[in-house]
């Protein structure tokens, strides 16, 4: 246990692949927190999926000791979907190490997070990493740090997470430059929850920073936002493995096994206090998880619905940002409409359902939340295009717009601007982070960001562009619902909301795509795109003409039956809509419209 003056809470802000994990491991090793022989590569990443995505989703705090000081390294998520989680991690710190890859320079998201740290009053230590790499130009990176964040050259440290060069100096700088925490030791407990996760044995584990007061391992705790109370099960710190302790004091960081059952009861940003002596007010800055992207999840086989339901419940235990409710689609049957922080979050959930729970899923194309002003003056939130009310009753539709920041080498500014134009984006600002790289700021509808924008941005910049975005505002837009009818039946899961000007073209592309995806059936199948009941595009899948096993193979019925069974298996993978069999891929066609508009 240390007094306040000997505590330093800090985090590392870095872009994916800029070496945060390697450097963190090196800090653990240099401070003797983990003996060299126990070092595993990438000590701090724990989930298999995180490793594959190359990002760290769940923050954790690790306690280290350096020159009689207790150093708490608080991990931060590194993806744009988790901005709020990043802000809560930053709120638990007094300092931040801004880590920039010497060969890559500063990226859009890193910059956004660094600004966030500066805004929250953190002491930011600029560090150039990977100085062991050949052919790097430190001056360019220095200039970026000067231009974008106003650092002076002498503030900038040089390290190599790989070789360990400069790591001692970095640790010294953390002790010297990051201010110690301030807090009221005598006040009632107020601890900031900057992360929580579900543990199969310990229930919900909260990662906290004690701001005021202290917490003992026999205390009964209370949460402000959810008003839940519980006997805590265990108190501890990570070093990096969990180690129980008796007390967490003012300024310290550690974990609390809360005894709660669902992560949703213990939300990031909430304040933890004592049931016996509660604080009068929570810490500022809490807001409930705000999903931005929505999609329908349906089991491919209707009988798997209970499995999906069970898996979603289990996932929610561990992911407070995942919200969902049951939804019924005429086309797809029973499923769920789920809300996500962003596309990556959606992908992670989808992959976990398929991989960890072995469920064959149909995910409908993602949608944003629209605000619809009806003639009765009400404002209705719509996150499922199929539920958009009758156009006659709508006064106005509003859609979410984002502030989008792209940092890109100047040679790719042209292609990026062209791409932005196709996405209804308007350029708000353009500047240079250094002579070779430009920073473009756009206002852009979120619905355009989520359909393929990131991939297209990467391909129009040969992978060099980096992207950050945050919610700006809702703006009115001339939007319409484009419906798809198959053999005269509206397929609700294929409806999309799109800009009126582009609706007809999108309808044509979509109908054409579907014609290629829907196999020939017993009769002609008409595929139509319609806006408000008016057909704007139409194609026909001509009826199958021949499908027969004519030859009589000396009474070989077995082989015929096997071939038919194969055919039946193929049919099973399709969804019956009316009397038409629609393959799963058709429901994803909407996602790929961008390829040929």
């Amino acid at each position: 246990m240390a007094d306040l003056a000997h505590i330093r809470n800090f985090c590392v802000i870095a872009h994916v692949d800029h070496g945060k994990t390697t450097l963190s491991d090196r800090l653990l090793e240099t401070t003797g927190t983990v003996p060299l022989r126990e070092m595993r590569d990438q000590m701090l990443d724990s989930m298999e999926l995180e490793r594959e995505h190359g990002i760290t989703i769940k923050a954790r705090a690790v306690r280290m000791t350096w020159r009689e000081h207790e150093l708490n390294l608080i991990d931060t998520p590194g993806h744009v979907d988790f901005t709020y989680e990043v802000s809560r991690s930053l709120a638990a710190c007094e300092g931040a190490v801004l880590l920039v890859d010497a060969s890559q320079g500063i990226e859009a998201q890193t910059l956004a997070n660094a600004y966030l740290a500066v805004e929250q009053g953190l002491e930011v230590i600029p560090v150039i990493n990977k100085i062991d790499l050949p052919n790097i130009d430190l001056d360019v990176v220095r200039e970026e740090l000067r231009t974008t964040l106003g650092f002076r050259d002498q503030e900038i440290l040089l390290v190599s997470g790989k070789t360990g060069a400069g790591v001692n100096e970095l640790l010294d700088a953390i002790v010297e430059r990051v201010p110690p925490p301030v807090g009221d030791v005598a006040a009632p407990l107020r601890a900031l929850i900057f992360d929580s996760h579900y543990d199969a044995y310990k229930g919900v584990v909260a990662h906290v920073r004690v701001v005021d007061g202290s917490l003992g391992d026999h205390d009964r705790i209370r949460l402000f936002a959810t008003e839940k109370e519980s006997e805590l099960l265990e108190l501890g710190v990570f070093g990096p493995d969990p180690r129980p302790i008796a007390r967490l004091e003012t300024g310290e960081t550690g974990y609390v096994a809360t005894g709660l059952k669902a992560v949703a009861d213990c939300r990031v940003g909430d304040t933890l206090t004592l049931a016996s002596r509660p604080a009068t007010a929570p810490l500022p800055g809490y807001r409930p998880a705000k999903p931005m992207v929505f999609a329908g999840f349906y089991p491919s086989n209707a009988q798997d619905y209970p499995l999906l339901k069970d898996a979603m419940e289990k996932l929610r235990l561990n992911d407070a940002s995942l919200i969902y409710e049951p939804e019924t689609s005429q086309a797809l049957g029973f499923g769920f409409r789920a809300g996500f922080l962003g596309l990556l979050h959606l992908e992670i959930v989808q992959e976990r359902l398929e991989r960890e729970y072995d469920i064959d899923l149909i995910a409908t194309s993602p949608s944003v939340e629209y605000r619809v002003i009806t003639q009765k003056g009400a404002e209705v939130a719509i996150d499922n295009p199929a539920l958009l009310p009758d156009p006659g009753t709508i006064v106005e539709i509003r859609e979410p717009w984002m502030k989008v920041t792209v940092i890109v080498p100047t040679t790719f500014v042209g292609p990026v601007m062209e791409l932005a134009q196709t996405k209804r984006a308007s350029l708000a600002d353009m500047s240079y982070v250094d002579p070779t790289r430009a920073m473009l700021k756009y206002d852009m509808p979120l619905s355009e960001v989520i359909v393929d924008f990131y991939d297209q941005l990467k391909s129009s910049s040969r992978g060099y562009a980096s992207l950050d975005y945050e919610f700006a505002e809702y703006r009115p837009a001339d939007l319409v619902r484009l419906d798809i009818l198959v053999a005269g039946t509206l397929v609700d899961a294929l409806s999309i909301i799109t800009h009126r000007e582009r609706a007809q073209q999108t309808g044509r592309v979509l109908v054409n795509k579907l014609r290629g995806l829907i196999p020939k059936q017993m009769f002609d199948v008409r595929i139509q795109a319609a806006i408000g009941g008016k057909v704007v595009a139409s194609e026909t899948v001509k009826a199958k003409r021949k499908d027969v096993l004519a030859k009589c193979y000396g009474g070989d019925i077995t082989r015929k039956r096997k071939l038919l069974e194969k055919q039946k298996e193929g049919k099973k993978r399709m969804k019956m809509v009316g009397s038409v069999e629609i393959p799963q891929e058709a429901f994803l066609a909407v996602l790929r419209i961008g390829d040929d508009t």
């Binding site: 009826a543 499908d547 027969v548 096993l549 030859k551 000396g554 009474g555 019925i557 039956r561 069974e565």
Partner: protein, 386 residues
Amino acid sequence: MTRGIGLYVHIPFCASRCPYCDFATAPATTALRSRYLDALDREIAREGEILGRPRARTLFFGGGTPSLLEPAEIQMLGDALRRAFVLRPREVTLEANPATLDRARLEAWLALGLTRLSIGAQSFDPRGLRALGRTHQPEDSAAAVTVARDAALDVNLDLIFGWPGQTIAAWQRDLETAAALKPEHVSCYPLELRLDPDGSIPNWPGGGWPVLERWRRAAAAAQPDDAGIARMYRVAERVLGRAGYRHYEIANWAQHGKRSLHNLGYWRDRDWLGVGAGAHSHLAGARSANPADLRSYISRAESGSERVVDAESDPPSEAAMLALRLDSGLDLERYAARFGDTAATRVRSALREVEPAHLVQVKGHHARLTPRGRLLASEVFVRLLP
């Protein structure tokens, strides 16, 4: 087994392999030939004993090219059959390749009671025969018909349509040429090119599956499309109908009273025993088969192993499919009496699904495929599966 059984004898040997063929075949020159015929004799004896020397109602020699057997081999086969079964068949069919049947061989078959010759004409168009990899000439088929006529045999002509490059006009000429020879029976099969190797691949040294696969892919790419094949099927219905043939099964037409009794046994779900490599049997409701690969077949026959039972066989759905192949169709009342209400309900609901697309016609308790349904029979049958 008072009604007797259908008896099928498989002779896998061929002078050359037709690249589209999926039957159990082997080169006529194979070193295994005599061992195969011995194994066949042994199997015939064993099965006759197990079944209590039943009567063979029909006898069918298929292949392969059974017409390639030597007179002595035919005689030995006949002796084995007579020892194991009561041979008073109403029909004895021999599959023959044109240009393989000579007087001596024919005499031997006639001694076995031959009544019907099924000639693998396939096409009368030299381009068609070439496209199908056939080695005989167009005029060989007519000559074979003459030989059959001289011996007072009924004749079936097998025709294949939808070969690469075939036009509607070419197909119509084939049909007219066939009809002019006045066979009692005509079978017309669309060229089906399966892309999965069958069990007889190991019987053929060299070449092997990759060669066939390449041929089939190329042929499939050059074949008329499904719509074209459907049109050809309609042409067959018209031309053969006009020439006095009645359609009675998806791919079969016959003059009055000349339907294939043996093949009707398959479709009416009767009992039959198939002996020889790759032969299938249906006895007392159970389906079983022999391996198509000669070595496996011989070693099984030598050790007296049972045939491989098709454990996944589903008699109710199979019976319904087989009956629907015939123009006489499916009697739903009799079907329900035989397989119970659950099976009958399933069949009825499958028929209801395809009725709006005019694939079946249901009148009272009688269901049959429409002409359109014959071409889309798999769409009907796939719905009959449990």
